[in-house]
Amino acid sequence: MKRFLSVLLVLSLFVALFQVVGIGATKKYGGVLRTAVTSDPPTLDPAQITDTTSDMVARQIFDGLVDYDENLKIVPVIAKNWSISKDGKVYTFNLRQGVKFHNGREVTAEDFVYSWKRVMDPATKSKRANFMEDIAKVEAPSKYVFRVTLKEPRGYFLQMLPYSCFWVIPKEEVEKLGPDFGSKPVGSGPFKFVSWTHDDKVILEANKDYFAGRPYVDRLEIRIIPDENVAIMEFEKGNLDWYENVPPSELDRLKSDPKWKDNIIEKPELGTYYIGMNCQKPPLNNKLVRQAISYAINREQIVKVIMRNSAMIATGILPPGIPGYSKRPPIPYDPEKAKRLLKQAGYPDGKGLPKLELAFNKSATHQRICEAIQSDLKKIGINVELVQMDWAQYLEKVDRGETQLFRLGWIADYPDADNFLWVLFNSKNWGPGGNGVYYKNPTVDELTDKAKTMVPGAARNSLYKRAEAIILEDAPWAPIYFYVSRAIKQPYVMDFDFSGMGPFTAKLEKVWLDK
């Protein structure tokens, strides 16, 4: 009897186990996955994409050699595997066989040669032609081997490759459609383009011949809803399945609602919001004044009250998730220290300091943040005048170095410290290239130049850590907060996840609907 009971127990355990596994494994095919973006994608031509909205739509249609996984690790896509020469200059990618464009033709190495050369060709007028500037040669030694030779070794080269300008496109379709390729794209990705009513919606359908297996959902419907509050109403009413631009004002309510609280996905985003200080303009060319400003800003207040905890207090330049990130305590709010620094700089209680201009581009959030900073700085005797302007005018002002204090946010193009520390602080990149604070420190220049050519790893990261520490001490930036990206989804949306680059990188082919 005892034996019988134990057999029964074991059997029932097995049954239970199979049931659990069974439930977990039955992913359902079919249905429409609906989301919304805030603006009409300017283009779906990979050579021209510079914004995340176009990228979100286009990445469903196109594929590249590699991509990031949810943890920002580089994973193969059309490239099966790759090797890097000892000098770090030659990358050889072995391509998968049988990957097909949506027109039925097989993707070969020649297609990558064509696609990349098209971006480099001035006639294409690609706004990302500069992403190819490290490349000396692209070639296809055989049908399934694609080889790239760099001018100099670049530690971040692989990290750049998921960017849209490196995706593969079919030559015959580009030649047939000409400039309209960006409106009727043909790629090799998990979804095929169906239709696009500008300012209304884009519809894509599952590519049943996708090399990695067909996507679970039959269709993607991407609506264009400019107002985020309206989109949230549509979401709550069940008319959208997931949505990424949750306004901070709605976040507390949604997080405390039992229906949604487990369906909000948040991840640190690779971006930093900062106040830039023009290092060439007096009195901001004095390091002590810049440090004083940074210590006088109450970041906690900004994040809590204005951002409603939808961001993280900045602890440095590099946000968490970037290799080379150093864990530090938040930059303290210390008005007394700020006052001492000002005194040391020769401006006791701000006496003798001219009124400083703090510029920002028009937006209610930027305005509130800048007003908070204005009031913080007033407390240590620095008078600040707020100047707001539209984005086009603002960019020009920053590029030309006509600013004193200004606000900006930098979000990584690719997850590598070079994209922050070289791009934003190397003196070779003054002006529109990224170093809008016109910062120059020979040691930082040397460290970031050297790290650019090194292979990824601890040695390279240590150079970046040193460079970052020097920059923080020099204080050309007062970093305010690190961005957090988030998306909200309906409870029936399964296997929805995205990388630290943001929800626009969600792999929608993996998503299935449990309803």
């Binding site: 510079t50 007028k125 400039p179 400019p226 107002d227 309206v230 109403m233 290239g433 990224g434």
Partner: protein
Amino acid sequence: MEIEGEMTNYIIRRLLLTIPTLIGIITITFLLMYVVPGDPIRILMGQRGDPETIAMIRKQMGLDDPLPVQYIRFLTNVLRGDFGRSYATNRPVLSEILTRFPATLRLALASMVVASVIGLSAGIISATRQYSFFDYSSMVVALMGVSAPVFWVGLLLMWIFGYTLGWLPISGYGDITYLVLPAITLGIRPAAYIARMTRSSFLEVLRQDYIRTARAKGLTERRVIYIHAMRNTLITVVTILGMELASLLSGAVLTETIFAWPGIGRLSVDAIIKRDHPMVQGTVLFTAIIFIFANLIVDISYAFLDPRIRYE
């Protein structure tokens, strides 16, 4: 016969006059876009604007040519019917405008229906029952209608009828149900305006001698109001309707934004923000043409409403 000839001459003259007007508008817009700070290519590149790439693209697009060269090139292209391609999307400007026009037209006409029905009836009832409760309350409501911000009205209607009651779609473009809330949102302001204008011009007309004569003849009050008084009031109303329609046809950016309606308003504002010169030119020219024609139609309609008006 004579009147018809007079009218044709008038129309031809008016149409010929539009040519210098349009050239003037093109020139002013062209110059304005170059005076306003902001480089379209730089904006498209986002924050990381590689100077060499910007220079390369500007050269390819002919943006570095001297201003007169660019102006002549632009003007000759426009005369050939080629408005160019958008800097931002590389799509033809004309097709971008024309694909959005049906949505704009639907919304404009629907909101004009809302405005005329509500405006005229409220105005007439108020005038005929001057100082009554209805008169006071409808004029207070009209004042609120004129002063309420469009986005507020839109969000409120959306929240009540779309989100809470679920009777109508919250936003988007589709069948007639999608049209109701944006049309009401957009129609409320002109409705209020029309109501107030109708009331005052009706009150004026009702005091005229011919109305007293009509009443003295023993005509029914209904006939006096709807046949005799109405016709003379309509001139004011038609003028407002014409101008409102023209402005609605050039897009209603706030309503379009809230209701995610794919109209011309969003297109033109976005073009200005991005300094998308060809698109700004295209939308401005399109708006100008609409205004010129709306004016013409309003002027012509006067002759039908008041035969005393002659065109010379």
